[in-house]
Every structure is written in structure tokens, then in C-alpha cells.
């Protein structure tokens, strides 16, 4: 199975390019459940494993066992497995970590043999010139120093949403454990801490994303000035992803990897057969993981994807460094993790400002679309009881402005969610959603312009927030200015509005081409409510704002 070195370098390059092109990013799903078949493992997985495709193709040739990935987020995946819903449609899971999953009631009983394949720590990659200016090259740097520099805005960085992706989640755990922990796994009291150092660290985050792939993409687009927003200095991600970015050479300046001396959280990629899976699936799992853990394949995984070998006796490549990486303790109590995430979202992270531009034209009266919209707003206002729903609700301190529109932009109503008692404000937002009525024409671009004006006024009053616009329409523009006018506006937006992305929802008869253009012009992305329920789409967008 050994291939010539040149060919292997080429494959690595193609994989890296594919990653940059965003292939690894947007979650893909298979078209409905696949029937079980011998030699096929149906695997619920984290999307960051997409870059393993070439190695898995070779594995299929060598072992006769193919893998079909069904990508999902960290919390969604944990919920699917714990509920037992994964059993009927999947044979195995392969997430970057089982640590969160194992805390869910019912999950351990669903999990069979978990075989670690590779590992990669979550670290901070920083533009070399910025790392150099901070004096962070060639010496140990602690989380406290990083938090202090972040608090003084000496650098900026991007990170994924911890309810959507393991890298953001690991970062929240690592930072809290290092900054408020005592040296042991966090306690509930420590997890509830709102210490200034924590707020300092997260204050420097200027780029957010609901998926790892989108985050990398957005970072590269900003760095290469393909996106209107200013470049971001750093990126929190797996060591493997950051080294892959450097190797691909698409960034104008390479990233220096900062491995905090007081510890990291490492993903260990356990390929886990589901306990109720068939004997055939258990056998296939054993065959495939056995192959992936042979020294030659472990070497290939390291050379081609920059992940660390799990099997002893494969020496680390020099690019992976020689420093001793201290592993921080990961809390083993669900209550600690839940407290930590709630505190992060409601009290610690940079607060968000979101303007919801919502189509209430006459066509929304068809097929109970308006009812769908009301329920979707209610869902993210707290009615969604799912695990992800808990962390995707309107958060403490968040500023939310629904702007309904039809023939003209309607009346905006702004709510600021109470930090200590978010319930009542969320209820008011749900009420506002419930009051939406379908009637009139569709003035998309006048309303979008109005949203930017509102954002401008709000930013002038209170600049230190993540500001985004969500645009939901079920049809084509029928009134007022057109997409051309918006295109002109987008290119000439004032400085403080250039970082405000529009996340567009494809729904009903919306003009997908125009919605995609609006998202691309502003650094946002589209979400398809044609293939997923509107409420799910509204929830997914929450990971980006």
C-alpha cells in the first residue's frame, strides 16, 4: 500500500486545497438512511474528518470496508447517540472526542468499542508577525498571558461556537480550567465563574462560526482581502488544521502555533462502534480500525493530515513539535459542563447583536409558512427543548431586533436579553414572533438597507458586539430597490458596517442566486430551509451570530 513520496505529498496538497475550498466545511448529509450492508460502516461523524477521504479510500481497497460519513455537530451528535436514535441508521460514530458524549445519560450504553485512531490538540494559531511582536515565539506562553494580551486587544482571533463544534467547546473548557481552575477538573462553582480574565480572553474574538470549515474559509478570505472585513490575526483550531493551512500556503503570512504551557485539550478521535450494531458491523469496525492503526497508515495519517499517531512506536514528525504538552483535566460531570456553557453564552462571551429581517408578505400565508416562522422564532426564544436548543436560545446580554417587512420595512422592535434572568425577555421576543401576520408585497432590499441603518445606529451607541443580520424571505423582490442597488451599497458600506454579515435563508420561492450573492458580498452564508425544517435552520444560524 505504500505509495511514492511525491504522490503522497500531492494527495496531502489536494486534501489541503479541498479543505480551503470549504469542502470540509458545510455539513453534508447523506440522502436518507442507507440500508446496512456488509463491508459498509455508516458513521455519524464530525465534519472535520472529511479530509481523511483519500486514506479511507485506500483503507477500503485494503480491507474491503467502506465508510459512509453522515456529518453532524458535537452536541447534535451527542444527543442523537444518547437518545438511541443513531442505532437504526448508523453503525458507528467517529467524533473528535467522546468526552462530552460520555456525560449524556444513556450514551455509554449505546457505545461499543472505542478505538483511538489519531490525536490533535486544540491550539491558537497566530500570524507570525503578531506572535513575534508579542514575544511569544520560542518561549512558553501561558493562558494568563494570552488572556491579558486579548483583554488589551493586542490581537484578534476567530473561534467556532462551542455548541456546534468541538474546537470551540475544547477552548472554553481549556481556558476556564487554566484561568479559574485549581489544577483539578473544574467544579460547578468554578464553572460558573465570570472572572475578568475569562471575559478578557473572549473579548478578542472577532470572528465566529457554526462550523470549523466556514471559520477557516472566512479566515482565509479575510486574510486575502477576498472578504470586506479586516483580517483576523489568529485562529483557534486543531493543530492539524493550522499546520494544514500553513502547508497549503494560501495565507499571506504563516501561522505560529501557540501551545499554552499550562495545558491544552486534545481530541483523540475515537472510532466507536455502536453497541446495538450488527455482528458484521463490529467485525468490519475491528478490521478497519486495525488497518488504520498499522504503523504505515499511522505514519500516512501524520504525514498527510498532520494528526498525531495514536499507536506507540511511530515517532512524531518534527513539524509537530517536541515540547511536552500538558493535558488539562476535562470535567467528568455533566452538571459542570452545562454550567460552564451556560455561563459562557449568557455572561462571558462577547455579546451579540442580531437583526432578523423577516418576510411577512402575502405569500407567507400559504402552507402555513407564517406559522412555521412564528414557531421558528419561538424555538430560538426558548421553546426548543433539545440539547442544542438550550445553547442556541437568545443569550443573556444579546440585543435582538426583529424587523418584519412586506411592501415596506416594518417597525423594528429591539430587545436586550437580561443577563441574570433571560426568560422574560425571551418570552417577549416569542410574543413578537407570534404577532407576525402575512400580508402585502416583498421589499427585500429596502428592508435589508433599513437593517444596515439600524445596525449602524446601534453600533454607534454600543460598538463592542458581534453584529449580524439574518434575512428570511420566501419570494422574489417585488417592491423598492433591487439587488443591484444592494450590490452598490455593499461595496460602499461605512467601515463599521463592513464586518456585518448577512445570513440568508432559502425558503419557499426565494431567489437562491440573489440570496447567495447577498451572503457572499457580506461575508455571510446561505442556509437551506428547503432541505431542513425552518426551525432547524434558525437554530443552526445561531451558531454563527
Amino acid at each position: 500500500m505504500r505509495r511514492p513520496a511525491a504522490a503522497s505529498a500531492a494527495v496531502a496538497l489536494i486534501a489541503a486545497v479541498a479543505l480551503l475550498a470549504g469542502c470540509a466545511g458545510s455539513p453534508e448529509t447523506t440522502d436518507g438512511p442507507t440500508e446496512p450492508e456488509p463491508g459498509l460502516l455508516r458513521v455519524l461523524a464530525g465534519s472535520e474528518l472529511a479530509d481523511l477521504a483519500p486514506i479511507l479510500d485506500e483503507a477500503a481497497q485494503a480491507t474491503g470496508v467502506r465508510v459512509e460519513f453522515d456529518f453532524t455537530g458535537t452536541l447534535d451528535g451527542a444527543e442523537t447517540v444518547a437518545s438511541g436514535r443513531a442505532d437504526t441508521t448508523h453503525d458507528a460514530t467517529w467524533f473528535s472526542s467522546n468526552r462530552y458524549l460520555a456525560l449524556q445519560p444513556g450514551a455509554p450504553a449505546q457505545m461499543g468499542t472505542a478505538t483511538e485512531i489519531v490525536s490533535s490538540p486544540v491550539v491558537l494559531g497566530l500570524r507570525r508577525s503578531v506572535a513575534d511582536a508579542l514575544g511569544w515565539i520560542g518561549r512558553p506562553v501561558t493562558w494568563s498571558e494570552i488572556a491579558a494580551a486579548a483583554g488589551a486587544r493586542q490581537f484578534s482571533y476567530g473561534m467556532t461556537d462551542p455548541s456546534a463544534s468541538n474546537t470551540g467547546f475544547s477552548t472554553v473548557v481549556a481556558v476556564a480550567t487554566a484561568l479559574v481552575g485549581s489544577g483539578a477538573a473544574l467544579t460547578v462553582e468554578q464553572a460558573a465563574s465570570t472572572a475578568p480574565a475569562l471575559k478578557d480572553f473572549f473579548a478578542a474574538q472577532t470572528l465566529a462560526a457554526g462550523s470549523s470549515g466556514f471559520l477557516q474559509d472566512a479566515h482565509v478570505r479575510r486574510a486575502t482581502r477576498a472578504d470586506p472585513g479586516p483580517p483576523v490575526d489568529g485562529l483557534i483550531n486543531y493543530e492539524s488544521v493550522l499546520l494544514g493551512l500553513n502547508a497549503a500556503g494560501t495565507l499571506p503570512e504563516p501561522l505560529e502555533l501557540i501551545y499554552p504551557a499550562d495545558g491544552v485539550i486534545t481530541a483523540e478521535y475515537p472510532f466507536t462502534v455502536l453497541a446495538p450494531a450488527s455482528q458484521q458491523a463490529w467485525d468490519d469496525h475491528r478490521k478497519l480500525t486495525g488497518y488504520l492503526r498499522t504503523p504505515a497508515v499511522q505514519q500516512a495519517l501524520m504525514d498527510r493530515t498532520f494528526r498525531r499517531p495514536a499507536v506507540p512506536g511511530v515517532p512524531l514528525a518534527p513539524v509537530l513539535g517536541t515540547a511536552t504538552l500538558v493535558e488539562l483535566p476535562f470535567p467528568a460531570q455533566a452538571e459542570v459542563v452545562d454550567t460552564l456553557l451556560t455561563s459562557y453564552f449568557d455572561k462571558i462571551r462577547r455579546p451579540s447583536r442580531t437583526i432578523y429581517v423577516l418576510d411577512t408578505s402575502g405569500s407567507m400565508g400559504q402552507d402555513d409558512r407564517i406559522g412555521d416562522l412564528r414557531r421558528s422564532v419561538a424555538g430560538i426564544a426558548g421553546a426548543d427543548p433539545s440539547l442544542t436548543g438550550q445553547y442556541r436560545r437568545f443569550r443573556g446580554r444579546e440585543e435582538v431586533t426583529p424587523l418584519p417587512f412586506s411592501t415596506n420595512p416594518g417597525t423594528p422592535q429591539t430587545f436586550v436579553v437580561d443577563e441574570n434572568d433571560p426568560g422574560p425577555t425571551r418570552a417577549q421576543i416569542a410574543d413578537a414572533g407570534n404577532a407576525l401576520q402575512a400580508d402585502g408585497g416583498t421589499a427585500i432590499y429596502d428592508s435589508l438597507r433599513r437593517a444596515y441603518d439600524i445596525a449602524g445606529e446601534q453600533i454607534a451607541t454600543d460598538p463592542d458586539r458581534f453584529t449580524s443580520i439574518v434575512l428570511m424571505t420566501d419570494g422574489e423582490n417585488t417592491e423598492g430597490s433591487d439587488v443591484g442597488a444592494f450590490r452598490d451599497y455593499a461595496g460602499s458600506r461605512p467601515e463599521d458596517l463592513r464586518t456585518v454579515p448577512v445570513f440568508t435563508v432559502l425558503f419557499g420561492e426565494s431567489d437562491n442566486e440573489q440570496m447567495t450573492e447577498v451572503a457572499t458580498l457580506t461575508g455571510g452564508r446561505t442556509f437551506d430551509a428547503g432541505t431542513a425544517p425552518l426551525a432547524e435552520v434558525f437554530k443552526e444560524i445561531r451558531g454563527y451570530v
Binding site: 468526552r99 460520555a102 455509554p108 472505542a114 483511538e116 490525536s119 501561558t142 487554566a178 485549581s182 489544577g183 483539578a184 477538573a185 473544574l186 499550562d262 495545558g263 486534545t266 498525531r308 499517531p309 495514536a310 499507536v311 506507540p312 512506536g313 511511530v314 511536552t324 504538552l325 500538558v326 493535558e327 488539562l328 483535566p329 476535562f330 470535567p331 467528568a332 460531570q333
Partner: protein, 277 residues
């Protein structure tokens, strides 16, 4: 329902449980392995200076270790520690105590020391030692589900992830004795004092199971084979031969050995640690 010819329990409390479900006139304990701490040379130096390891020996003093652990001592608080100044508690890494025998053996050991050098034997004893032993597990945070995974983490991820791993002596020795050993640079093995033996107990379920038990206990070739895998057969000689034949120093004779608590008491302690029955 138990089915098959034999059942193999990895410790005597686990065998108690098997026997309760399936009484049988005779059981076999063909080999055993003491619990040990796989670590690294720089850690041994630090532990020696902290009084946990007796200078020049492989003895890991459980009483001194529990004192440091009770005070939540961090590595970076050890005086003069420049080799491993991690801002992390000095704790032996174990497997998930709710799911794995090796951690349960360690619980037996720690509870013995915490109970004033006596095997915990009643519910009052369980209640008395729980506060002392709980932090040893809880403060580690997430721990791996099996001893194989823990030992592999020790081997491949190094000192930063697993400075001290609670393993079976046999795991470490099997690696040393293998044709192609893969122990990390500076690997060292320490023996807790007191320690506890995990006695792999064979419970015959069918008459032919007795034959298997007999063979494992008496057949010289099978006994030599178990020694090659790092286990201690009842007769110490084949074990010592397997080690010295490879030019390795003979493992110390362990004198301070305690018995694990009974199955019921162990279950009581696990419940006290929050494990579901």
C-alpha cells in the same frame, strides 16, 4: 446468563460476583499481576524529592502520596521543580472507576490506606473513607474506559498527558518482554506500597472448564507463556526467568500486599463515588 466453558474474572471481587451467580466447587487463580504505576524518569526524580519514592527504589509510598493528594498539591508547587512545572494536580491517572477493574483495584488500595491500614469491611467504613478517596478520581476529570487505552495514552502521548498511569504490572512487563518493545523514552515502573494484586480468577462453567483451569495451573509451557505476557504465575521461578532471560532486572518481591475489599463493599464504595449500579 453466563454461558460458555469458563469465565475469567480479572480480580477476586469480580470472581465473587461470578460465583454468586454461578456457584462452583472449584476456581483457579493461575496467574496474577500487582497494580503498578507507569511513569517517567523526571517524574521519579520529583517524586523522590517529594518523599513519595524511596531513593533508588521502585517503591511508591501510598501514604505519602495520599497526603500530597489530600492537600491538592500541584506539580508546579513541588519545590525546585523545573522539569515538569505543570499547573495540574499531582494525581495518578486511572481508568474510569465506574467501568474498569484496574481503577476499582486502586480504589481498594487507597481505601485501605485511608481506613487506617485496614481493609474496609462495613458500610460505616465505606462512609468514612469516601470523602478521602473521592478526589483521587473526581479531580482527574475524564478518564479512559479501559486500562488498554490508558496504557496506550501513556505510551504514545507522553509525560504531559499521563505523568503517572495506574496499570497492571503485566502490561508494562509484556511490553518490555515483547520482541519489539514500544515504551516511551525514560519509562519507569513503580510499585505502590502497599499494593494490591489483581488475581485473574478462572471460574469453570462446564466440566471441561476444570480441565482448562488445571492446564493453566500445571502445564509448564502454558505457565512460561503467561510469564512471557508479564503475569506472575503461582510459581515465581518462570516469571523471574522470563524477565532475566531478557537481561532485565528482576522485579522486586512485593511484601506489603493488601487484599481488595469484598465485592459488596466495593460496590458500596463505587455507589458513594456516584457510579450507577
Amino acid at each position: 446468563m453466563l454461558s460458555g466453558v469458563i469465565a475469567l474474572a480479572s480480580s477476586s471481587p469480580a470472581a465473587d460476583r461470578l460465583l454468586a451467580a454461578r456457584p462452583t466447587p472449584r476456581t483457579y487463580a493461575p496467574f496474577s499481576s500487582p497494580m503498578a504505576v507507569a511513569t517517567f524518569a523526571p517524574i521519579v526524580d520529583l517524586l523522590t524529592r517529594a518523599g513519595v519514592v524511596a531513593p533508588g527504589t521502585q517503591t511508591f509510598d501510598m501514604r505519602r502520596y495520599l497526603e500530597l493528594a489530600a492537600a491538592s498539591t500541584r506539580w508546579d508547587q513541588l519545590p525546585g521543580n523545573t522539569t515538569f512545572p505543570a499547573r495540574k494536580d499531582l494525581l495518578v491517572s486511572t481508568t474510569d472507576v465506574c467501568r474498569s477493574n484496574s481503577a476499582a483495584m486502586y480504589l481498594g488500595l487507597a481505601s485501605y490506606v485511608a481506613n487506617g491500614e485496614a481493609v474496609v469491611a462495613d458500610p460505616a467504613g465505606v462512609a468514612a473513607v469516601t470523602p478521602a478517596v473521592q478526589p483521587l478520581f473526581r479531580d482527574q476529570g475524564y478518564s479512559p474506559p479501559s486500562t488498554e487505552v490508558l496504557f496506550e495514552d501513556y505510551q504514545s502521548a507522553g509525560m504531559g498527558r499521563v505523568p503517572m498511569a495506574l496499570v497492571y504490572e503485566a502490561q508494562y512487563l509484556a511490553e518490555e518482554l515483547s520482541p519489539d518493545p514500544t515504551l516511551p523514552a525514560g519509562a519507569r515502573l513503580l510499585y505502590p506500597s502497599p499494593t494490591v494484586f489483581s488475581r485473574h480468577t478462572l471460574v469453570p462453567l462446564e466440566p471441561v472448564g476444570d480441565r482448562v483451569g488445571e492446564l493453566l495451573t500445571t502445564n509448564p509451557e502454558l505457565i512460561a507463556l503467561t510469564a512471557q505476557y508479564g503475569f506472575r504465575p503461582t510459581d515465581p521461578r518462570p516469571f523471574t526467568e522470563a524477565i532475566t532471560a531478557r537481561g532485565l532486572p528482576a522485579p522486586p518481591t512485593l511484601v506489603d500486599v493488601v487484599e481488595p475489599p469484598s465485592y459488596d463493599i466495593l460496590e458500596g464504595m463505587l455507589a458513594g463515588l456516584g457510579c450507577a449500579p
